[in-house]
């Protein structure tokens, strides 16, 4: 069960955008911005309030890669595997981070909820390939070693 504050948040987002079907995506975005994920129960709640079927809301949420039903870690790492990053050995960076964080194809977030690692198709910074982004900040020309060092640094700051 979600805390009441989550439902209050949903109510605020719905009030902001209006209780109408076309508010679905903006409301979902606002909730995800705030909680860093989109809890399923909250999606059902929003769907009923704005008058779309639960299945339709689920369809929209699963269509866009950006929405996640799983809580994300404090540091959201997006590693680019677009064309430029790929030819500049972006995969090696991703693999090194997966090994360092104990993550894989089906596990994206560390158990301590510190890191979430996602592979994305392009960050729009191809000149800086291979790139990765941590909580919105772009880190250019990564190597497996520099990526691991960055993660260790972030972890150090936390503890």
């Amino acid at each position: 069960m979600l805390e009441q504050s989550c439902y209050d948040l949903a109510d605020r987002c719905i009030a902001k955008h209006g209780a109408k079907p076309s508010s679905l995506i903006p409301v979902m975005e606002d909730i995800q911005d705030e909680l860093r994920y989109l809890p399923g129960e909250l999606l059902s709640y929003v769907a009923e309030k704005i008058g779309v079927s639960e299945a339709e809301a689920y369809g929209v949420a699963t269509f866009y890669e950006n929405f996640s039903f799983e809580p994300k870690g404090k540091f959201e790492i997006k590693c680019c595997d677009g064309t430029a990053c790929h030819v500049k050995k972006g995969i090696a960076v991703i693999e090194a981070l997966q090994k360092e964080l104990g993550l894989g194809k089906d596990k994206h977030t560390t158990d301590d909820m510190l890191f979430t690692l996602e592979t994305v198709s392009c960050l729009g910074a191809c000149g800086l390939a291979p790139t990765m982004m941590v909580n919105g900040k772009v880190h250019p020309r990564m190597t497996p070693d520099s990526a691991v060092a960055l993660v260790r640094e972030l972890r150090g700051e936390e503890s």
């Binding site: 059902s44 079927s53 639960e54 299945a55 339709e56």
Partner: protein
């Protein structure tokens, strides 16, 4: 208005909404997998592509007809593309055709056959999805889904539910429920319209045929069948007869041959339903209580009301459905050892409806803690049984139903179409059975060709405001208006499927045809042929009220706990 040239021939058009309709009007049945005239245009399957005189191709379902258009529907290039589309669909389709319930009635199979496709050069790389058998009514096998979206639109546009939806994207796209829950855990009402519109075997009827054969094969069991009104005008479709042909007598003959010990007619219990419901209606009118009265024959509607409009649940009649009443009466009859002769009785209902499979499980329909209807099968399953047994329906002579429960009035027969229940109620309230009066009732608006029919009839010193609605999406419109106080009624008849039970989710589906009008006309034809058209004049009904139902009418004919529909 205008004229276009199709394959070199001039074709006039008037208000056709798209080029596809003009082409079909011209007698050329170009294939489609996602086009349904009663729903929004989706334009996904691309099979209806045509070419203009400059070689430009477009989807004819999504193009407005223009005067002077020149199009070709079957050029070599189009043939090649259409073939490739089917091959691509087959490439990502579970092709276990020999063991597929839909085999023979599958539109994809039909097209592959017609286009002479003998090989599929693509491999299926999709994940295998588990088969959802959670529902008593339908089975969903998404490995056979071609993503045409027909079920999605049937569920949201026709039925106003939106239980099924496209989820995910690209190669992972999947028609699913919210959070991929089993369909039985959603607000699905089991109407089966998704199955009617599914062109492949992705959604099929949850078959109970094996249980029926088991019961027939057991010598200690008496298998008693009851046949719903709408079944008699649909089963013939599958045996090459004219749409809407009345084949009740042949069905009875076939069922006797297959080993059913007794075959009865649900039109009898439809008559009982009217006796009870008309009385309930008059009581509520005089007490001005829980009006409008809403009908309770359709389980999909009853569940819809329970799930979506709980505030109106008290308006729904407490009458059991005709299936519920018939089975309760049959079981009561065989409780008497003199009648049961030491045999166990299994009641099998033959219904046009997938939701009936759900209804038989509702505890509110139980009598003394016992389930009255043991097995509910659909017309489609009955057709399978007849074929399995090796009978050709058209070769059989008509036989009458057995006694003492084999006779219903014409009012019971028309239960199978939208407006029929209301018409039967009006006949019950009518002071006599003169032909003039019966004709006047038929003309009062109850048979109008509209999904939402509204009309007023006089009864004694007052006007009765009546609404007849079919299709749950239309029912939603009516209930929302009622809620907002925009309309007022005394009686609302709701059937979940558009046109009523004749188009139920368990009826046979004929490729490329909508036999709604033919089946409805078929029922009216049978009704016209009945000597007894008022339920209260049915001698079996009179006997039952003097005998078995004397002090058990409430126990056997009404539901007892109104709150439970799962």
């Amino acid at each position: 208005m205008g004229v276009m040239t199709i394959n070199g021939r001039r074709v006039a058009f008037t208000d056709e909404k798209n080029v596809l309709s003009v082409i079909r009007k011209a007698g050329i049945n170009i294939p489609t997998l996602c086009y349904l005239s009663e729903m929004s245009t989706f334009g996904a399957c691309r099979l209806c592509m045509v070419e203009d005189e400059r070689g430009k191709m477009f989807a004819s379902c999504s193009e407005v007809p223009r005067d002077g258009m020149t199009i070709y529907t079957n050029t070599v290039r189009l043939q090649k593309y259409r073939k490739m589309i089917i091959q691509l669909l087959l490439g990502s389709h579970n092709r276990d055709c020999t063991t597929c319930a839909q085999s023979g009635d599958c539109r994809l199979q039909d097209l592959a056959h017609k286009m002479n496709i003998t090989s599929v050069p693509y491999h299926d790389t999709r994940d295998v999805h588990p088969i959802d058998t959670s529902s008593p009514s339908i089975v969903r096998n998404m490995n056979k889904c071609i993503l045409c979206g027909d079920c999605v639109r049937a569920c949201s546009e026709l039925q106003g539910l939106g239980v099924l939806e496209f989820t995910r994207r690209g190669a992972d796209a999947l028609v699913s429920t919210a959070f991929d829950r089993p369909i039985a855990q959603t607000s699905c009402v089991n109407c089966g319209q998704c199955r009617v519109y599914c062109p492949t075997g992705a959604i099929t009827i949850h078959s109970n045929v094996d249980e029926v054969w088991e019961a027939i094969g057991d010598p200690t069991v008496r298998v008693v069948a009851e046949i719903a009104p709408a079944v008699r005008v649909a089963v013939g479709d599958a045996f090459g007869m004219k749409d809407g042909a009345g084949v009740m007598g042949m069905i009875v003959n076939a069922m006797h041959r297959m080993g059913f010990d007794e075959v009865y007619d649900v039109t009898l219990s439809a008559d009982l339903t009217i006796m009870e419901e008309a009385q309930e209606f008059l009581e509520r009118l005089s007490e001005n209580r829980n009006l409008p009265l809403m009908t309770s024959c359709c389980p999909a509607w009853v569940k819809f009301c329970h799930d979506q409009y709980p505030e109106f649940e008290q308006n729904v009649s407490t009458c059991r459905s005709p299936q519920g009443m018939m089975s309760a009466v049959l079981k009561e009859y065989y409780r008497d050892p003199e009648n049961s002769q030491g045999k166990k009785t299994v009641v099998v209902s033959v219904m046009p409806c997938t939701a009936k499979k759900m209804e038989i499980r509702w505890k509110r329909n139980y009598t003394r803690g016992q389930q009255d209807t043991d097995i509910a099968i659909t017309s489609t399953e009955l057709i399978n049984m007849i074929r399995d047994f090796g009978l050709e329906l058209g070769d059989l002579d008509p036989e009458a139903c057995d006694m003492p429960f084999g006779l219903g009035s014409g009012g019971g027969v028309i239960f199978g179409t939208s407006g029929g229940v209301t018409e039967a109620v009006l006949r019950r309230l009518a002071p006599n059975h003169s032909k003039q009066l019966m004709d006047n009732i038929a003309d009062c608006g109850v048979r109008e060709k509209k999904w939402i029919r509204e009309f007023t009839v006089s009864y004694k010193d007052r006007d009765l405001r009546i609404c007849v609605v079919s299709g749950l999406g239309n029912a939603r419109v009516v209930l929302d208006r009622l809620k907002a106080g925009e309309v007022q009624y005394d009686l609302i008849e709701v059937m979940a499927c558009r046109g009523g039970c004749v188009m139920g989710g368990g009826q046979p589906v004929i490729l490329g045809r909508t036999p709604r009008d033919a089946r409805t006309a078929g029922l009216y034809r049978i009704d016209n042929n009945e000597s007894v058209r008022k339920c209260d004049e049915n001698p079996l009904v009179q006997n039952l009220y003097k005998g078995m139902l004397k002090d058990k009418a409430h126990e056997l004919l009404h539901v007892h706990a109104a709150d439970e529909t799962r």
